[in-house]
């Protein structure tokens, strides 16, 4: 009896620790956000997960601060849709966009070429458009200069004679209505499926330089084009639309941050192709922080002084750890509370069980980015959609292990419990769940460890965490930056694993450990 009591106390303590830990993790970011959010409206700037967009985002933040307007940057969000949805859901105030993307992708009205026409089309949606910033970052196809010379290709039309070439296209370019589909149709290109693959933009560069790929898609302001001496193929049929950079913002920003909104006009026409490519190059090649590059531009071109607040390595690490732990802790706790009862129900009723197991299995197969995009309209950007996605992914291992733990109990022991005259609930609590504890716990452990890894994707929707440096590192092809996210994430996974080993000792009855010996 005393032994059982010590065990119960240890288990309670362990649960309490987890609970406290989650509370602290959850409370920390809220507190820091409160500090920033005083009377003035904080302008919420978003950016896409490529350098140019991040630089423009920092430029907007700097511009706001120079006009005494507080601003926060949700950087490197996972895709155009995520930003568009966040802006419309009032999760963001402003982000840099391109006319071609707006017309073709977001409004599905490719005939809208003129920025003024676009602005009119956006008005009913409560959105405003700035005048073009000056550069046209359109898509381009290209290859290394040596390869271009050897093959004697100059135009996209020339590709028709080279079916042997290996193409590496970004997923976005490949899928977009104004991307590969129109190019293929307009130029009559037919590449076999094994000649064409989709991959990350930065990885495509690496593949091109390594000679693994022949042709990849670019943005025309990519600094790598000049740096590596790459050849762009002429769009001889004029297929690619204009992608003039503009600032897309909510109409109510004019009321919320009037000084900042007025100041936006000072950026108009200030960034031509060369200027933008140079700024991109300073980040990507010279490894200058985006904020510093943006600040020096504001200083040199507009005469605006912006104070740079560079967080220390320790504070950044601490903030990311708190963000990451919040994602993992909250989603895991919720999953435990939902999945264990689901597993119990599944074990009790075979039919229901099959349905439940099938459903949580299906959830598992939804690609994480798709799930995140779907979750933005109802939940906004930040931690919420990431936590819900992680919660959903955590269900399967826990439901399955609970179900397995309960259904593999020796039927003679289940009968012995029933014969004692204990009601079903008491049997579950006193006999069945304790006997299933090792299995249940191993499911929770699996979910926790997987969660630590999957939570890095939270950075795609602005949830922060150790995914942030990984995303930036991939964008900048900067291994040390990737490691700044990957190493703490891996260490955290090990820590979680260790924590569960301790928890196992506290929660799994000693009698069960004896048996397994």
């Amino acid at each position: 009896m005393t032994r059982a009591r010590t065990r119960a106390r240890a288990a309670l303590l362990a649960l309490l620790l987890i609970f406290l830990f989650v509370q602290v993790a959850a409370a920390a970011p809220a507190a820091s956000a409160d500090g920033e959010r005083d009377a003035a409206h904080v302008v919420r700037v978003g950016s896409k997960k490529f350098t140019e967009s991040v630089v423009l985002g920092e430029l907007l933040v700097g511009l706001a601060r120079a006009h005494d307007t507080p601003a926060a940057h949700q950087r490197e969000l996972g895709g155009t849709r995520i930003l568009w949805n966040a802006l419309r859901a009032d999760e963001l105030d402003i982000y840099p966009e391109y006319t071609g993307t707006l017309a073709r992708e977001l409004l599905a009205r490719p005939e809208l070429q003129d920025p003024r026409e676009l602005a009119r089309a956006l008005e009913p949606l409560g959105l405003r458009l700035s005048a073009p910033l000056g550069f046209n970052n359109t898509y381009a196809l290209g290859l290394t200069r040596a390869r271009a010379r050897a093959l004697d290709v100059r135009t996209i039309s020339d590709l028709r004679d080279h079916a042997e070439l290996r193409l590496g296209l970004t997923e976005e370019f490949y899928e977009r209505k104004d991307g590969w589909p129109v190019v293929r149709a307009a130029y009559g290109l037919a590449f076999a499926s094994d000649r064409l693959r989709t991959l990350d933009h930065d990885l495509a560069y690496a593949g091109l330089l390594a000679g693994e790929l022949d042709v990849i898609d670019f943005y025309s302001t990519d600094p790598q084009i000049a740096a590596h001496g790459l050849t762009l193929l002429e769009d001889d049929r004029g297929v690619f639309p204009r992608y003039d950079a503009v600032l897309l913002y909510r109409a109510d920003l004019e009321r919320r941050a009037p000084a900042f909104t007025r100041a936006l006009t000072s950026l108009e026409g200030q960034l031509d192709d060369g200027t933008m490519a140079a700024l991109n190059g300073r980040v990507q090649r010279a490894r200058e922080p985006e904020a510093a590059v943006a600040a020096s531009f504001l200083d040199e071109r507009l005469g605006l002084r912006v104070e740079l607040r560079a967080p220390t390595v320790a504070s950044r690490l601490r903030r990311r750890a708190v963000e990451h732990l919040t994602l993992v802790g909250v989603s895991l706790l919720a999953a435990v509370l939902v999945a264990i009862p689901l597993g119990v129900v599944a074990a009790r009723r075979r039919r229901v069980g099959q349905v439940v197991l099938a459903l949580v299995g299906v959830v598992q197969t939804i690609p994480s980015l798709a799930l995140l995009v779907v979750l933005i309209p109802p939940l906004g950007i930040g931690a919420a959609p990431a936590i819900v996605a992680l919660f959903l992914y955590s269900l399967l291992p826990i439901v399955r292990s609970t179900h397995a733990g309960l259904t593999t109990i020796d039927p003679r022991l289940r009968e012995a419990a029933a014969a004692l005259g204990l009601p079903a609930r008491a049997r579950l609590r006193l006999v069945e769940l304790p006997m299933a504890a090792p299995s249940v716990l191993s499911g929770v452990k699996t979910s926790a460890v997987i969660n630590v890894g999957t939570a890095t994707l939270g950075a795609l929707v602005g949830a922060g965490g150790f995914g942030q440096p990984i995303l930036a590192g991939i964008r900048l092809a900067d291994t040390s930056l990737i490691l700044q996210g990957a190493i703490p994430a891996a260490a955290l996974a090990l820590l979680v694993q260790g924590l569960f080993e301790l928890l196992e000792r506290a929660l799994v009855p000693r009698g069960l450990r004896l048996r397994s010996r």
Partner: protein
């Protein structure tokens, strides 16, 4: 006292019990015996209300045995049930196995402890073994703990399904002796399943022989030997008679 009237029981298509009529005697031991698969365990499960008959009635002290609800749970607490190896829960110590239901009911701690020590003495289980987990006990010790658990709430009846089946001969003989003493001293209604006629005779005057889900003969051992009701009974008796049909000799008590 248990009463089965015209009980039929199906498992899917197969008929497991066919028209069983059986009345056990109050305060006495009834032994169910028969080849494996003849329906002995099924009868115990019906008596406990773990299963329900497809036809016929199962009564305990004149009231129908329920399968669910408060009445069913109350009945199960009035009937102790012991299976092979004791059916002990591996995550609980011997002490916690025995006192599980009493603690759940919220019985007084001192009363529980008193009863536990009383039962340990009765079942001749050394008190220092009470803190051990089932995995740390021998087969015979587990069986004693299983018996203590079944007796904990001082039930009116005791059902034992081949309680000695898994034990080696020496331990088995020792436990047989102890069990019979316990049954006699407690004067409870006992139904005991065995496949050994000698063991049945050792425990019970009322022996019930089953075959294929039906009772082929019931009565005292002498009837089975002197007046076998069928060829099968005669063969069953003579097959077991090659081994001495007398109570086993017990070793000296430790």
């Amino acid at each position: 006292m248990f009463e089965l009237r015209g009980v039929e029981m199906l498992h899917g298509e197969t008929r497991v019990l066919a028209g069983v009529d059986l009345v056990t005697r109050r305060g006495r031991t009834t032994a169910l015996i028969g080849p494996s698969g003849s329906g002995k365990s099924t009868i115990l499960r019906l008596m406990l209300g773990l299963w329900g008959p497809d036809r016929g009635r199962v009564l305990f002290d004149g009231a129908p045995v329920e399968r669910s609800g408060p009445a069913a749970l109350a009945l199960r607490r009035r009937v102790g049930y012991v299976i092979q190896e004791g059916g002990l829960f591996p995550h609980l110590t011997a002490r916690d196995n025995v006192t599980l239901v009493a603690r759940w009911r919220g019985d007084d701690d001192d009363a529980i402890e008193r009863r536990l020590l009383e039962l340990a003495a009765l079942a001749r289980l050394p008190v220092e073994l009470l803190g051990r987990f089932p995995a740390e006990l021998s087969g015979g010790q587990r069986q004693r703990v299983g018996l203590m658990r079944a007796l904990m709430l001082d039930p009116d009846a005791l059902l034992l399904d081949e309680p000695l089946g898994a034990l080696d001969p020496l331990i088995r003989a020792e436990l047989q002796l102890d069990l019979r003493d316990i049954f006699r001293s407690l004067a409870k209604t006992v139904v005991l399943v065995t496949h050994d006629l000698a063991e049945a005779a050792y425990f019970a005057e009322h022996i019930v022989l089953l075959r294929g889900g039906a009772i082929v003969q019931q009565g005292a051992l002498a009837d089975f030997i002197a007046r076998p009701r069928s060829d099968f009974v005669a063969r069953f008796v003579s097959a077991q008679r090659t081994v001495a049909l007398s109570p086993p000799r017990a070793p000296e008590a430790p």
